[in-house]
Symmetry: C2
Subunit: 686 residues, 2 copies
């Protein structure tokens, strides 16, 4: 469904229209008049004949037509009544600027419920309440009251900023404008009672003028539309950068008090965004730091960077920054080094990073001699020029021209790092992205290159919310849990529920490697903490003694005795964990990682959304801290990643069926040729 | 020894003086004339009568006095001859600007050796060669040819920038000047043939006008002087920030090709800087990002931060950033929340972070009402104000005044984050440090607070280089190594070298828990990779078989048989590592951490310089990834940190004696009540 009636309406009515262009009900009118809006503007205010030199109307009935869009800038008490009138008249979309709804308490939440009902029954779409408004600078439809557009005048350009928060729509806008970058869209949706940030984004990324989309999200309640936005954006080659706040527990608490939203586990959001090729920015600066790079249309062939500088220190610092931000220093082809060695003075460095030294002062052509060699080298994907020393006596206009020639000839991404404004300005005039420091330049390049790779690798996929999670659930005991995971192909040890010590001794007879005895009760999830796991029992006498001790201990703990679980001892192996849960918003979420008793204290696990492939699991395992164990250390054979994948697939299948809500296989005893669930715990719907 | 004859000389001669103020031999003269140097300037150039309107002299003999300092801006071929003449005449200090010495090859290194001899025999001190020069803007003694002082005009202020690299002396200078911060010293020492960056720093931090010292180091060959600089700086409360490049392997390689320096293990440098209270900056931006904060003279009482903003989004993002950068969100005292709740509208957040909401638009006094409560709360150490939405209609001059009142009244550090220049400027006029984003503000605050704590906790101490490391060394076998560590109080298992299987079987008789058999040869450091470690042997037959297999295997490997090491089996425990080496520059370096066969593949260890206390080791262990194991997980008892300390102390003692060059105890089998060296390997001088 198109939202063009909000982004490019043929006509806009303003409820609460103000003669004062500095008031909320006045600013949108001023903006639309100033910023070239070509549609019709209808101020509505029963107390005035005209508003800002436009005829003013007492109500909708008095208008010469039904407006496509309406801005609702009246007091909160009058919002619902106004909405109803708009719906009745056939207005297509409303922006509610009034606040004091869901963010203020229960009454406000009920009002938002009514707004959703109005939207659903009438088909009229609603942005807000508590919305700072929408601003499309290409069409001039500025249905927004932000003062930022006064202090940092707009220039319609290729970036779209879309946010729930008003502040976080104009903060990236302001930072981009101060860097001279044009912003075409700046939208703040507020409480998202009807239209969500994600739905709006799915619309905006279809605008052919949009080349980069920056989102600020406090909640992610509408992942289906975000997945759609990402799919459309990837199809058009438009990168999406999202700042999702509330990563930290304190941030989640602050967000909850601010928006009343329920937090999704933050790593699920990471996994979701990654899956859809959306870059997650860590903070405000990371939203905009690489914007210039995205707008060049570059398709980097990899992450191997060449560095050319007239300072040895910059070479060293750049090499450090390359490692810090995860790029790779290019290894030049031998002929590249040979040619460069011939061009540079003896004491200069012809290997990457290339230190052309102060010789640049006497030979302004050095960049022009070196850069074509770097450009032609197939081992180089990207280039950074560092000129920390320059100024009078340096022909930096020529350096800029030589760099621009490189950029045009080889199509490889290139940036400048220079502390001096006049040097940066010379390069910027040639269209080259510039940074103050090598640190900032390389950080931005790394984000850009990694994001391009993320978009290429994105698998996308649809999202279906899961109903009824958290309503009623119960824990299965270990015996039952092992049976359920075994059904899905997870290897489990031989085992038996023993009502008597004799049964356990019988079981021992069939287990030459010995057995383990455990309490088997859903009431005791951490059995070993209570001394209810006895391992390595090899004689009938040992079995009898431990059986009796477990039974006594359960009695002391007031847990009903329903037999002791006897299981065969497993060969030693690494204790891993495979588990997962059903997320109400994102569906099955599976984790794989290091297990054992330190799984919470020293967490080392990765999260996978479904569906996933064996390759996905192998990559996830390789990114663990214990990743080297799957390759083998000190010449030994690696742990069997395929067995971990099979266990993870079994967990995913269990969760996908909808009845199992959570699975915890810990430890999954993993060796070089297999993996066996030594313990399992399932939560199921009642 | 004072270097004032270089920083504030009564007279300066310039060899290679140029009439052209844009040449290397002309620029210092121009600078000194323009920047208020009150001493006497003596251009020396046999070809000219006058230079830049000053009388010019043919040589030193012709001067009316012996100059205190000399700038040597002649061609490299004439440098040594000029130096000799200066030394003969009694010049106190020279700055050599000519390049092409140590950085260019062997011949240049020999020339630098001669420079050191001249300095040592005459007492004349030498800066350089390859030095961009020294600039003291307080005295106007600008013995430097940097063009940066033209593009970013100096203003003598409280910051000192000292660097080997010319570029990295003026890059922080430029970044600071662009932020309006005054720089009093800007020195680039070049190749450090005589005076090192560290020695110069030890002099500069005595300048009472210096309040912040920023260093760029490519090598750290003179740690004794850096320790002295740090000690003097701490005594005066002057923070030192050091950017030490070459952290990454590629960076080290680039630095080696740039300066020919030998790399010290980077973590040793971390430990050294930490010990002396010097903050290590990660990159160029981190050198200057917190400069404004250091210059306020604040003494933060802790790292508990309060956030006050008119945007809920900024509150959430700030809470995230607080966690990201390791500050703590302050928990207000109950009465603080009560009072704030009374002041703010119903829907505003009275807990930290405080969201005063858009109500700020109608009540400009809200900051003034809230801030005194925050200031008086003993649980608040620092404050950030975030104003992402402002502009026309907002009384930000008043907000700035209210914030300045807070700062003056409570003496607590406070910063502003605001994307709009006019808001930042209003706060800056009141002396409040300002940032564009909450991310940058909180990152800078975290650095500042952590650095102040680092200075308070610094233990300092002297540094003595160790001679002869790397000249001749040999590896001891395990039996001998265990004996040496046992002498220092490290617990080792019962053990015996057995020439025959019968001896091993005898040994078994005394070990009820079984024994382990191992090859005992310094030629095989990784015995288990070759199948030369056999554990858990409990019967004479097992012992006989494995003894024979080990002996056969050694024969196949062509290793001389000198008996098999039999040792008692240890109770299971966590495999840790304790080891160390003798660093030629920094002395004994000890590591403690997670051990076993994955010690290289999954490193998790910390490094300690000597001397260290039990507390130091406990802190180091707690910062490990396996740190929780020392507290105990899931209700269990923690590993014995004291036993690890004792082993580390033993290693430190061994190394301090000077004969042992390296120690590797891996694994150190550690349980809840002790630690035993299951293996040890020592390198000793031959």
């Amino acid at each position: 469904m198109s939202l063009s009636f909000l982004l490019n309406p043929s006509s806009v009515a303003i409820f609460g229209a103000s003669q004062n262009p500095e008031k909320i009900g006045g600013r949108p009118i001023r903006f639309m008049k100033e910023m070239g809006y070509s549609g019709r503007i209808y101020p509505i205010n029963p107390g005035r004949e005209s508003v800002q030199d436009l005829p003013c109307y007492p109500d909708l009935d008095a208008l010469p037509e039904v407006p496509q869009a309406a801005i609702i800038a009246v007091s909160k008490e009058r919002v619902l009544e106004t909405l109803h009138r708009c719906a009745e008249h056939g207005v297509k979309g409303c922006v509610i600027m009034a606040s004091g709804f869901g963010e203020a308490g229960e009454e406000g939440r009920r009002a938002e419920e009514e707004m959703r009902t109005i939207a659903a029954t009438s088909g009229m779409r609603i942005v807000g309440p508590n919305s700072q408004g929408l601003a499309d600078f290409h069409t001039g439809a500025i249905l927004s009251f932000s003062t930022m557009f006064i202090e940092e005048p707009p220039e319609a350009g290729p970036v779209a900023c879309i946010s729930q928060s008003g502040a976080m729509s104009v903060v990236p806008y302001g930072l981009l404008r101060q860097r001279g970058i044009g912003v075409g869209h700046c939208h703040a949706t507020g409480n998202d009672a009807d239209v969500s940030v994600s739905e709006l984004a799915a619309e905006v990324v279809l605008d052919p003028k949009v080349k980069l989309c920056i989102l600020y999200l406090e909640t992610l309640q509408d992942p289906a539309n975000l997945a759609l936005a990402a799919e459309r954006a990837r199809a058009r080659g438009v990168p999406i950068i999202a700042l999702k706040s509330g990563r930290s527990p304190d941030g989640q608490r602050a967000a909850a008090s601010h928006t009343g939203a329920i937090a999704t586990e933050d790593r699920v959001i990471d996994a979701f965004l990654e899956r859809h090729g959306i870059w997650r920015a860590e903070g405000t600066e990371a939203m905009v730091q690489a914007a210039e790079l995205y707008l060049q249309g570059w398709q980097p062939s990899g992450k191997r960077i060449a560095i050319v500088s007239n300072s040895g220190a910059t070479c060293v610092l750049s090499a450090d920054a390359v490692e810090r931000y995860g790029l790779n220093l290019a290894r030049f082809a031998p002929q590249t080094e040979d040619v460069i060695r011939g061009v540079l003075p003896d004491f200069a460095a012809s290997r990457n990073p290339i230190d052309i030294t102060a010789a640049l002062l006497t030979d302004s052509g050095l960049f022009g001699k070196v850069l074509p060699e770097v450009g032609a080298d197939p081992n180089v994907d990207i280039l950074m020029i560092g000129i920390p020393v320059s100024g009078k006596g340096y022909d930096f206009e020529r350096f800029a021209q030589d760099t621009a020639d490189f950029m045009r000839t080889y199509g490889k991404p290139v940036v400048l790092a220079a502390p001096q404004r006049l040097v940066r300005e010379a390069f910027a005039r040639k269209g080259i992205p510039t940074f103050e420091t090598e640190d900032g330049a390389i950080r931005a390049l790394a984000q850009f290159v990694d994001h391009m790779a993320l978009m290429r690798d994105a698998v996308g996929g649809s999202v279906a919310p899961v109903a009824g999670v958290g309503i009623g659930q119960t824990t299965l005991d270990e015996f039952a849990s092992l049976a359920r995971v075994a059904e899905k192909g997870v290897r489990v040890p031989g085992r038996r529920i023993c009502a008597t010590s004799e049964e356990a001794q019988d079981f021992l007879a069939g287990c030459p490697g010995g057995i383990v005895l455990k309490a088997n009760s859903p009431q005791i999830p951490h059995k070993s903490e209570h001394g209810l796991v006895r391992v390595g029992l090899k004689t009938p006498a040992e079995v009898a003694r431990h059986f009796s001790e477990i039974k006594t201990k359960l009695g002391e703990m007031d847990v009903a005795f329903e037999g002791v679980l006897a299981a065969e001892m497993l060969s030693p192996g690494r204790e891993l964990v495979v588990g997962g849960h059903l997320d109400p918003v994102f569906g099955p979420v599976v984790i794989v990682g290091d297990g054992g008793i330190a799984v919470e204290a020293m967490p080392d696990n990765r999260l996978l959304l479904t569906p996933f492939t064996q390759e996905d699991v192998t990559v996830a395992l390789s990114r663990l801290r214990i990743g080297p164990l799957f390759d083998g250390v000190r010449g030994g054979k690696g742990l069997c990643a395929q067995a971990v994948f099979e266990a993870a697939r079994g967990v995913a299948e269990l969760l996908s069926e909808g009845e199992v809500l959570a699975v915890d296989i810990n430890p999954l005893i993993t060796t070089t040729d297999g993996a066996t669930a030594a313990d399992a715990l399932l939560e199921v719907r009642t």
